[in-house]
Amino acid sequence: MIEGTPVHFHRMKDMPSSHLLGTGTPMCAGCGGLETLHNMYDILGEKTVFVNAAGCMTLLSVYPFTPFRGGWLYTSMASAPAGAQGVRDAMDIMIKKKKLPEDENMEVVVVTGDGSAYGMGMSATSGAMDRNLNFIYLCYDNEGYGNTGQQYSAATPHAAITSTSKGSHGYPGFKKDLFSIWAAHHPAYVATIIGAEPLDLAKKIEKLQGMTGPRMLISLAPCPTGWDYDPQLSVEIGHLAVQTGVWPLKEYINGKVTHTKIPKQRKPVEEYLKLQGRFKHLFYPQRDEQGIAEIQARIDAYWDNVTE
């Protein structure tokens, strides 16, 4: 985005036409997390420091290459929000003490996977929200410890086969509701996004740019290697996640949760499930009617309570 250009994202043609993030990164083909980051970065602009926790995206900046035009700081798996605290505080102090001109200020953005956000990094994230840290947090959620070969994490959905849940019924647990956990801290903003819905994503980024305080984003990140599907299906799977109601697009502001895209007629969840090898056991060698019905019922129960 060019500085100073008024942006109102109503249609796809309003989206930035130039792209900031460099190409040739080591991310997998069809990476849903990278798709989200691309879209976000174009709107956030160059004056952005990304503070990273251990995960796939750590490999974006490998000495001496980086796809970023601003700042980057890798911290550890558990403490990226604390790293953001130090950078934000230092920049504020330097501006106050006139050691840094105000126009050199940067937005501090934490980038972590679900392994960090849903588990090891949760204490540091909670602390950053307690302190009302002025930062943006992007969790790219590919529903497992993807960088180590997709072991299940607290973000893994029920029944998914992962490399540590290879049994005939897949992962027995249920995906943790991180959105609600974050919202319970009453930060300035919480939203779910997905790279396959760039207009919804852009509107949310634009909205949070006008706010201060913790601005929290969880992006579902379709993952060809972890979810076992052809990379060319990433966008389609992203669309289906929204259309089947698996991934509700919503935001939290001032104590209120609003859905930003309510599917008029939800597609059956199996349309989403059957494209992914991690759910293959629900369809082959024979259809697991009960298993599919249970997953469908949980999605229906969620949406039964959604009014806005």
Binding site: G71, W72, T75, S76, M94
Partner: protein
């Protein structure tokens, strides 16, 4: 210059204040907490132009310390024991960022068993991290060492963080008179922090703390850090000279007492050296040629200075207030490494472990240590490592064990009966 009666913690806080620290990420832990309380009061009163933020853990605290220093401000922080080890991943990490700041460690024994009292196992765990380590024996030395630590850490040929270590309780809560350096002189001595390339700004793209692929680049950056830490030895001498010229107090890398003609030598770290100091006085009065060498700078390890100092001595007692399970005293191993193969090295280099978890080392024990190394030296024998413990202490623990056993029996009988 003002003379004040300060605890070790108070002296540490004054060091941070006089160094004009900008930013203090904090987390409370006994026996360190008084440091951050003092600083927060000064900030609230407007006596100190700094920002303090309490993080939710030491892991986060050390991350924020490193990331703030990497963004261009002067940072101070403090921890102890469990806190230092909770943050240990980041101790290594931020040292690798080559980011200069000063952290106080108030030494306290490691769990388990959990204790609040002092020994050096916590600080020894940070030995290989890339932090510089300065060990203090008096409250005066703490304030002064914080100022020197900033100079050393921020030196453009070094650029690594530094730990200033003080012993829990023995120093942290003991009041001693401290000559506080004049604020303007202290500010001039420490100087402005020049972040050089460590600064995020909108107009200058910068990636820090990036991953590397392969052992070649990894080894290169690790070797660079090692050489920088080693270089701190020669830089330290320049800084110590300047400090002595400015404030009239000299702090050498090794603090020697009665070493000129000493045949038998105590070697140790930290505040228990003041006990050894007294023992040396008593032994000298009794006609023994005894000396004391207290290491102030433990990282970098002053190997050459140790070799020069101990050449030709008859016997050395290395006192470790730490224990490396299955090996023994860490300091003893390091001295053995330093002296190995040296012509005229002391024939006896004995290891004594004591002062764990706040346990005292009595004057009698110091006398016996010297007696033992002298006898070994006279007989031309070596000496097995000793774990200091008295008959009386053994009786006391046996009593506690008897009570524990009786309690256990009683509960069993109640449950079964």
């Amino acid at each position: 210059m003002t003379r004040k009666l300060l605890t070790g913690n108070g002296a540490a806080a004054w060091g941070a204040r006089l160094a004009l620290t900008d930013y203090i990420p904090a987390f409370p832990i006994t026996p360190q907490t008084e440091i951050i309380e003092d600083l927060s009061i000064w900030i609230d009163k407007g006596e100190m132009d700094a920002r303090m933020v309490t993080l939710e853990s030491e892991h986060s605290m050390i991350t924020a310390a490193g990331s703030a220093a990497s963004s261009g401000v002067r940072v101070f922080t403090a921890t102890s024991s469990q806190g230092l080890l909770h943050g240990m991943e980041m101790v290594y990490t931020v040292a690798g960022w080559r980011t200069p700041f000063v952290m106080i460690n108030v030494s306290r024994g490691m769990s388990s068993p959990i204790t609040l009292e002092s020994d050096h196992n916590d600080i020894m765990a940070a030995r290989d991290s890339g932090f510089l380590q300065i060990h203090c024996a008096t409250c005066q030395e703490i304030t002064d060492s914080v100022l020197m630590a900033y100079r050393l850490a921020e030196h453009k040929e070094i650029r690594v963080p530094a730990i200033v270590n003080l012993d829990g309780f023995y120093l942290s809560f003991t009041r001693e008179p401290v000559d506080l350096p004049d604020a303007e002189k202290a500010a001039a001595f420490v100087g402005e922090f020049d972040p050089e390339n460590l600064q995020f700004k909108g107009s200058a793209p910068l990636s820090q703390a990036m991953a590397v692929l392969g052992g070649g680049p990894y080894s290169y950056f690790r070797y660079e850090a090692h050489l920088a830490v080693q270089h701190a030895l020669s830089v330290y001498d320049e800084i110590a000279d300047e400090f002595a010229d400015t404030f009239g107090r000299r702090y050498d890398i090794i603090d020697n007492y009665q070493m000129d003609d000493a045949e038998y030598v105590f070697v140790m770290l930290g505040s228990f050296a003041t006990k050894a100091h007294n023992a040396v006085d008593s032994l000298r009065k009794a006609g023994w040629k005894v000396g004391l060498a207290r290491l102030r700078i433990f990282r970098p390890f002053p190997k050459e200075k140790i070799r020069q100092l101990l050449k030709g001595r008859r016997a050395v007692a290395v006192i470790d207030q730490n224990i490396s399970m299955g090996m023994g005293g860490v300091l003893h191993s390091e001295f053995a490494t330093a002296l190995y193969g040296m012509k005229d090295a002391p024939a006896v280099l004995a290891s004594f472990i004591g002062g764990l978890g706040g346990r005292d080392i009595s004057q009698q024990e110091f006398f016996e240590m010297i007696n033992e190394i002298k006898q070994a030296s006279d007989k031309g024998e070596s000496l097995e490592p000793r774990l200091l413990y008295t008959e009386n202490e053994l009786t006391e623990i046996r009593k506690l064990q008897a009570i524990a056993h009786a309690e256990h029996e009683e509960i069993h009988q109640q449950r079964d009966g």
